[in-house]
Amino acid sequence: MRPARLPAATAIAAVAALTAVTGCTEKSDAKGGGNTVEVTATDDKCEVSKTKLSSGHVELAIENKGSKVTEVYLLFPDDRIVSERENIGPGTKQKLTAEVKSGSYQIACKPGMKGDGIRQKISVSGGKAVKRDPRLDKAVADYRAYAQEQADATLPKVKLFTDAVRKGDIEAAKKTYANSRIGWERTEPVAESFGDIDPKVDLREDGLEEDQDLEKDWTGWHRLERSLWQDKKLGERDKELATLLDKDLKDWQKRVGKAEITPTSMANGAKELLDEVATGKVTGEEERYSHTDLVDFKANVEGAEKAYGLLKSVASENDPALTKELDKQFAALDKLLGKYREGGGKDSYEFTSYDKVGKADRKGLQDGVNALAEPLSKLAAAVVSSK
């Protein structure tokens, strides 16, 4: 429910630690005059004066000739940020500098500061090549694919749910509700990184602002959850909301593959999934009408485990004690969750209704989450300390 995107400064620092490329956007004392790229940004174009550069100090001289505020990024091919400059107003000029090693890069202009931006490829040659751990590039690529798979698999499950709502079939809608959310919950930090989709689909009643109307402005899964379990009826508005949910999640599906993902954002995203459990699921706030919190809980843990699994080979080289502890705590939490499975095999998503889970059991779940989340918070450090 919170924006999970790494602050820009953190993302840059992460990249710096990974690759020894330093973004220094404040400096304007560009040394190599021949290494300046003029970037002309408009509302639909991102023109660069050259696409071949020498390694070392690079300067982007940016001019916004468009009508919208824009931002310009220097990116690695997998979308990790080398350096960025935000809030470049129409008609203004800004400079962005970076120390860059040889390799291929992209420059992206984002008119309106939204979307993937308009891209230009550039190549940097000479000097030392950027030292990159191909395992981390692969981890990012695999995680991106995972996020996409989850979104692709979610859409039909959501349609089962929304079709039931549109038909006014309360029982069928209730049955398909929790299942429709699993893919989303597994990859929540990625989905949240877009900022605009999350409040449309996953907002809880108490997330509305003071001037927002409960009937008009509240959309998404939890609004329908309330209709189904609390109001126990489906009206015209619910049918509209079902269609809107389909549409908003289609948007998510389209964008998820292009999310900004770095090894550190994966590691901290895994921790954030546990934070979601600790603050929203353990308390029963997330699914306050349906009490299907344990389904979300399980999905959050699975998503965290996926990200961890992809980073594990690198992390275990740098901090074997940490990965040993993480393996143990993931297994312990899975086992603990298993206690609340109602029928079905070990892959079943039929969990005890959370209103039936007593205080002492909730404390046990919280203890299990703490036991995993604390070492998980150290995963990013174990990933970036690799050389």
């Binding site: 400064a9 630690a17 550190t264 502890e325 404390k363 203890d367 703490n370 918070s377 150290k378 990933v383």
Partner: protein, 443 residues
């Protein structure tokens, strides 16, 4: 007088803290010139204690400072100094009572003995650093930006504030790690006392840590960081914040009052009275088991006070209930607070009379309890009372006889209720920088 290094404590300039750190000398000595030293020696030697609810005479902000040479009275809390962590006994028992408390009890979650021992070592290390006023591990800032810092940071810039951290082992710990035969006989499960209304979620625990400091932020920081280091191995079961110490181990001019407005617990064992400490507080070599020698036993009780009904009680009745007058705190029929009470002059069910060692075959305990208020209780009543902490050589001859006597007859029971309860074995102190909490038990 002779002293142990850890127990009596105070601001230390030269005595050992952790291996990596020492207290700033100027902090330790800064109070020397303006000491408001009471004539403590003239007040020493009251061996008796026994008021179960209680305040005692205190030196206020005055505490004992210790240097390499000898001792001088120094207002240690205003100096914000550090209390020596190493010593024969753990600090935080006879240490002049600090102003604030954060007490936490933990459940042991791990079944892995090695992992648990590592936790005790990690905690010892962190405790040595924090009591010396240093950050945990690599500190609170300046490290990798992608990782959370080792220290949570809210005590940055604050003085050591006489922080003491005292660890205890609860009965349930001895159910684990093959420790059944090591459980001391003196660590009994407390019997049920009449009137108890114990909330299981506010009692028990396999481990406890008592954090006392003159600054609440320092005490809370210490527990929070230990809890964090412990995640996965131990989990906080319950905790209690306390303020307004209700008893003192440094007899002085002022007696703090409890939330009923009374000076209660005038008699407490002085932290300087080594013969009384040896007799009533420290576990002796022959008391058994060996690993407890130099330790003690702690009883913690959360005692809720019905302050609203108390406040509607006539003054005369209030004074009869305690057996002391409200203004001076003198025992019935006497003029001064410290006058020897004449028990027979008090009502048979008065609190002081029932709690007195003479009524309980000499049972004597060292108290360092705190008042608490945890807001209101949902019915608009102040959720307040006394968080009672008593140290003794043997629970069977310490707390139990006193509480039996009180629970049966104390007229004060109309206004109080025991709602939380726990008992812990307090191991001896950490001797040197290679030693760790509980080593004698686990080695």
């Amino acid at each position: 007088m002779t002293h142990d290094t850890a127990g009596t404590a105070g601001a230390t300039g030269t005595s050992g803290t952790s291996g990596t750190s020492g207290t700033e000398p100027e902090e330790a000595g800064s109070g020397k010139g303006n000491s408001a030293s009471p004539s403590r020696r003239s007040l020493l030697g009251w061996g008796g204690a026994g008021l179960a609810l209680g305040a005692a005479v205190t030196g206020g902000a005055v505490a004992v400072a210790r240097s390499g040479e000898g001792e001088e009275a120094v207002p240690a809390s205003s100096a914000g100094g550090a209390v020596a962590f190493l010593g024969k006994h753990q600090a935080g028992i006879t240490t002049p009572v600090q102003d604030r408390l954060h007490f936490a009890a933990f459940d042991v979650k791990t079944d892995d003995r090695e992992q648990f021992v590592q936790l005790l070592k990690d905690w010892t290390k962190a405790a040595a650093r924090m009591t010396a006023g240093h950050e945990v591990g690599e500190g609170a800032f300046g490290g990798l930006v992608e990782a959370p810092p080792d220290d949570t940071g809210e005590a940055l810039g604050l003085k050591p504030s006489r922080l003491t951290l005292t660890i205890g082992f609860g009965p349930s710990l001895f159910e684990k790690f093959g420790l059944k035969d090591d459980r001391p006989e003196a660590l009994v499960d407390l019997p049920r006392f009449p009137g108890d209304n114990l909330d299981k979620t506010r009692g028990g625990g396999g481990l406890c840590v008592q954090a006392c400091a003159d600054d609440p932020q320092v005490a809370v920081h210490a527990i929070r960081n230990l809890a964090r280091i412990g995640f996965g191995k131990v989990a906080v079961r319950w905790s209690q914040l306390g303020f307004g110490k209700t008893s003192s181990t440094t007899p002085g001019a002022q007696t703090p009052r409890n939330l009923f407005g009374f000076k209660d617990g005038t008699r407490n064992i002085s932290g300087e009275d080594n013969s009384a400490l040896a007799k009533h507080v420290w576990v002796g070599e022959k008391d058994g088991p060996d690993w407890m020698a130099g330790g003690s036993y702690l009883v913690a009780r959360r005692i809720r006070m019905n302050v609203e009904t108390w406040d509607r009680t006539p003054l005369g009745e209030q004074e009869d209930i305690f057996g002391r007058d409200k203004g001076e705190g003198a025992p019935v029929g006497k003029a001064k607070e410290h006058d020897e009470p004449f028990l027979k002059a008090m009502k048979p069910d008065s609190h002081v009379r029932l709690a007195h060692p003479d009524t309980n075959d000499g049972a004597t305990i060292l108290r360092r309890g705190y008042s608490f208020t945890d807001g209101t209780d949902g019915l608009g009543r102040l959720d307040a009372g006394l968080f009672f902490l008593a140290y003794q050589r043997d629970v069977r001859t310490g707390f139990i006889p006193v509480q039996r006597s009180l629970a049966r007859a104390d007229v004060l029971n109309e206004y109080i209720q025991h709602v939380g309860s726990a008992v812990f074995a307090i191991p001896p102190g950490v001797r040197d920088k290679d030693d760790w909490w509980g080593r004698a038990l686990f080695s």
